[in-house]
């Protein structure tokens, strides 16, 4: 994500730095998936790999501090709503090509549901979602189709939810 990071103020960056330092046990300057996993609440989150992957924008398997801040920047309350929706989109878009394919949707859903659904049932859910959301018929969901499929009321929800992570008003 190449947006500028002026959305977070210096105090927040300071806090992030401290947190980053605490997690970075081997002082390598970057967080590996293993270091993220020290947070028990994160380990129980089925989407943890996706979240880490989104942070890791250069794809080297680790999250350095710049990537960390950039990722967090999406949630600065003063940030552009596009970035928040983009983050949600990126959860699905595994290869980061700007489109959600059937396989990617299946993969992410599988992470969420685990063994509670058979693969066939899961595939049906995925196919249905694709049909509903894919307006231009190219068998994949673009960012625009994603935003439309979410629907305006849900969009507000997403923005508000992702806002709560760093927000002034309570």
């Amino acid at each position: 994500m190449g947006q500028d990071i002026s959305q977070i103020d210096s105090n927040e960056i300071q806090k992030m730095l401290q947190k980053f330092g605490k997690l970075d046990e081997d002082n390598s300057g970057a967080l590996s998936a293993k270091e993220f996993m020290q947070i028990p609440e994160l380990t129980s989150n089925p989407l943890v790999e996706r979240v880490i992957d989104i942070f890791d924008s250069d794809g080297n398997g680790e999250v350095d501090f710049t990537e960390f801040i950039r990722g967090m920047n999406s949630f600065a309350s003063k940030g552009d709503t596009q970035y928040k929706l983009r983050f949600a989109f990126n959860i699905y878009d595994i290869d980061k090509d700007g489109y959600i394919t059937n396989a990617e949707l299946f993969h992410v859903l599988k992470m969420m549901v685990g063994n509670n659904l058979l693969d066939e049932q899961l595939q049906q859910v995925v196919d249905k979602t694709m049909i509903y959301s894919d307006k231009d018929g190219d068998q994949r969901i673009s960012f625009k189709e994603f935003c439309d499929a979410i629907g305006p009321s849900l969009r507000e929800d997403i923005i508000n939810h992702l806002n709560k992570i760093t927000s002034d008003d309570r």
Partner: protein, 482 residues
């Protein structure tokens, strides 16, 4: 040229006051009297800290243009220190400009109960979801369903409940002139730096040698008493003397750390043949509790210095030490404890059910082992440290034991409140896990701690895969019920 005679005279002149004071301290320890010097000292320190913080704040006001992080400086007299500590921590969270911390509180508000899994919120998205007329199968999925988990994941990265219990509690409102408590040393003003330097000299060059001397004295006392007790053939006499010797030993040791201990509710002091449980913050906990009562300790037989200490202590009282291999066998541990309790003259067993040191802001999961002994009465104790004068938490991943002891000996003082709670026994039909929870809740309530169900073992080990499977199951349930 200085002759050796003169050197000796000089040394003895310097040492004489030390020896004199040491003798005084010993007598006071033995008789359980106190001159109140330590309390005066702590009050003086509190005033100095407030002064230093005021200077810092004034500087901050002039630097900070928006001045949003201000609050009027509130001097905290030590007599009310223990009441103010919990609100101080909350205040710090409120005026902290980084909102992420307070958001996690919001998440906690949504949680009804604390239990083993990280319970996700009840997905408020659900109420406003657009209903889909098309799908007829009972699985409804919408692209926005993942948002909640994403958010939780991000919040966990920024600030989670568990990892912050394993490091020293964060920056205090009042700076106590120890650079180790400040995350970064900033230069505020000449006066504060001067104060800090003065404090440094006092702590390292005056207090520390004196405390070290006392420490050696304590060790000598311990060894001496062990030898002394060997000559008592009768077991009763041995135990009776042992009881008092133990208490004196610990009083000496508590003076080593300049510990100011306030004990509450002494009528609930643990009696013989019972089990005493307490929250664990540091190895000093044992010393603190032992100044008022003698305990039988239970634990793994260690090697090295600590192992020698364990063996020596065994001379003065019946302690239960395990070999590492035996420790894994829970039945045997329970059996030994049962035997110990049933012999009515035996001292109460002291146990720290958390299993590891936690940083005194919360109480983590109590291991159910000792609560399974149904015949025993449990005397809970809450130990609350006042961080302003010295952070007693032992972060074993950061410091070795000796390093930690030296840190303790160069802090200002250890101010601690010990609350004895009324005894509890397991009720009809209550499982040991529930009983453990009940005791934990009582301790948390008394000490003003956050009551967490997370396992202290997470400090060193990763959580089990079950948690994730549980989250997946919940997601599935959510899909089904739309």
């Amino acid at each position: 040229m200085i002759t050796t005679a003169q050197v000796f005279t000089i040394i003895s002149i310097i040492c004489a006051p030390m020896v004199g004071i040491a003798a005084l301290v010993l007598t006071l320890a033995a008789l359980n009297l106190s001159l109140g010097i330590r309390r005066l000292y702590v009050q003086l320190l509190a005033l100095i800290f407030d002064y230093a913080t005021k200077i810092k704040r004034d500087k901050e006001i002039s630097i900070d243009s928006n001045g949003s992080s201000d609050e009027p400086p509130t001097p905290l007299p030590p007599s009310t220190a223990k009441n103010k500590l919990a609100p101080t921590l909350e205040k710090k969270n409120e005026d902290n400009p980084v909102e992420v911390t307070s958001t996690t509180q919001l998440l906690n508000d949504c949680k009804d109960e604390i239990n083993n899994e990280n319970e996700s919120d009840s997905l408020p998205i659900q109420e406003q979801k657009v209903s889909r007329a098309s799908s007829q199968s009972d699985i409804q999925f919408k692209l926005g369903d993942i948002i909640d988990y994403t958010r939780q994941g991000l919040e966990a990265i920024v600030d989670d409940d568990v990892t912050k219990r394993f490091t020293s509690a964060e920056e205090m409102v009042v700076w106590n002139l120890l650079t180790r408590t400040q995350q970064q040393h900033e230069y505020f003003s000449m006066r504060v730096t001067l104060l800090w330097f003065l404090g440094f000299c006092v702590r390292y060059f005056i207090l520390f040698p004196f405390r070290l001397f006392l420490f050696i004295l304590g060790v000598v006392w311990m060894l001496g008493s062990a030898v002394f007790l060997q000559y008592f053939p009768a077991k009763d006499a041995k135990l009776r003397f042992g009881f008092y010797i133990n208490i004196v030993l610990h009083r000496i040791l508590s003076r080593v750390f300049s510990a100011i201990i306030t004990i509450h509710n002494t009528e609930h002091r643990a009696k013989c043949g019972s089990i005493c449980v307490a929250n664990h913050t540091s190895p000093i906990d044992v010393i603190i509790l032992s100044t008022d009562n003698s305990f039988s300790m239970i634990g793994q037989q260690q090697g090295g210095f600590f192992g020698m200490v364990q063996r020596t202590l065994s001379q003065t009282a019946n302690h239960i030490w395990f070999e590492r291999s035996e420790a894994k066998d829970r039945h045997m541990v329970a059996e030994k404890m049962r035997e110990h309790i049933q012999a009515h003259n035996n001292l109460p067993i002291l146990i720290f059910p958390e299993g590891t040191c936690i940083n005194n802001t919360s109480v983590m999961m109590f291991k159910k082992g000792c609560f399974e002994i149904t015949e025993a009465t449990i005397y809970p104790v809450a130990i609350k440290y006042d961080n302003r004068f010295g952070d007693a938490f032992w972060n074993s991943t950061k410091h070795e034991l000796f390093q930690y002891l030296i840190l303790m000996m160069t802090s200002w003082a250890i101010v601690v409140d010990v609350y004895y709670l009324p005894p509890m026994t397991i009720e009809e039909g209550e499982t040991s896990v529930d009983f453990a929870r009940r005791v934990k809740a009582a301790i948390a309530k008394q000490g003003g701690f956050v009551d967490l169900e997370w396992d202290g073992g997470l400090k060193r080990a990763l959580p089990k895969a079950d948690y994730k499977a549980e989250e997946q199951r919940k997601f599935y349930e959510m899909l089904k019920t739309e």
